[in-house]
Symmetry: C2
Subunit: 165 residues, 2 copies
C-alpha cells in the first residue's frame, strides 16, 4: 500500500473501466489532472493537479487540496486568499487518470489568482484559419478580489503565485 | 512562426494573463490539456489532450480534434464512432496552459469509448479517511452505443481504444 493509502494493487483494464474500486492512475510525475467546476452553475472554474497526498487530503477533509507545480508543494486551495473550495462531488473517468471536482466556493467566490471567478475568462475565436496572434475575447472581467491586496504585489510580480493559487 | 501558425513570440506573464493575444503553452511533450463539457448541460464529458495541429484543426473546422496518447496520432473525435463534437465555445485559462471546449455532441451523443455520455460516470466517496479500495458509485450506467459493435471487440479487448476514442 502506498503512503497515502489510496492506490490498490494494479487492475485489469476491465476492472479499471467497469469496476467499483478506486484505482487512480498518477502520471510519471506523480500527478493526476483535476477539472474543477462550480456545483452551482456548472462552469469550469480551474484546471489543476493533485499528487497522491493532495488527493487523500481532499477525500478525507472534503476541502480541495492540489499540488502546486510552480511552488513544488501541497496547496490547500484558499490557504492564502481564504477562498476555499468545498467538494460537493468527486468523480473519476473511464481509465481513472483524471478527476472531476464539483465544488462550492467560499469567501469571495473566486477561484482564479487574478481575482476572477474562473480562470477561463477569455474565449478563443473558432471557425476560421488560425494565424499567429489570434485575438482572445474577455468573457469575464470582474475581479472579486484585488490580487495585489490578497497576495501582495511582490508575490504577484515575481510570478510566484500562478494559476489559481 | 511554428508549423500550425498559432503560437506567437513569447510573452510576459502580464501579457499572457491579461492580454488578448492567444499564446497557448504546450507542455514539454508538446501537448495541452483540454476539458470538454456539454454546451447543453454543463457536465464534464471528457478530458483529453491536443498537440498544436489538433488545436489548429479544431479552431479552423469547429470540430474537436485531439492527440491520442495511446495511439500516438491526431484524432478527429468521432472518426470511427460517428459521435463527433461541434465546438460551441473555446476558452483558455489565466496562464494559457489549458483549454476548455463547450461542445454539442452529434450521433449517439456519447463522448466515452465505453458508450456512455460522459467518461466521468463514477463518483468517488468524499468525507472519510481514504483507504485502499475506496468504493466507486456508478452515477451513469446507460450505454448509448455498444462499444464492441462500434469499435470491434478486438480493438476494445486489446486496449487500443482508450479514453473516449
Amino acid at each position: 500500500m502506498s503512503k497515502a493509502g489510496i492506490t490498490p494493487p494494479s487492475k485489469s483494464q476491465a476492472d479499471i473501466e467497469e469496476g467499483t474500486v478506486f484505482a487512480p492512475k498518477f502520471a510519471g510525475d506523480g500527478l493526476i489532472p483535476v477539472v474543477v467546476t462550480s456545483a452551482e452553475t456548472g462552469e469550469v472554474l480551474m484546471f489543476a493537479y493533485m499528487n497522491e497526498e493532495a488527493l487523500a487530503r481532499t477525500i478525507e477533509t472534503g476541502e480541495a487540496h492540489y499540488w502546486s507545480r510552480s511552488r513544488g508543494g501541497l496547496w490547500r486551495k484558499g490557504e492564502v486568499s481564504g477562498n476555499t473550495q468545498r467538494v460537493v462531488e468527486m468523480r473519476t473517468d473511464c481509465d481513472q487518470d483524471a478527476i472531476w471536482l464539483k465544488v462550492e466556493m467560499t469567501g469571495a467566490e473566486a477561484s482564479c489568482h487574478t481575482g476572477r471567478r474562473t480562470c477561463f475568462y477569455r474565449a478563443v475565436p473558432v471557425g476560421s484559419a488560425p494565424g499567429a496572434g489570434l485575438a482572445l475575447r474577455f468573457v469575464e472581467t470582474e475581479r472579486r478580489f484585488d490580487p495585489d491586496e490578497v497576495y501582495g504585489h511582490a508575490g504577484a510580480a515575481k510570478g510566484t503565485l500562478k494559476s489559481s493559487e
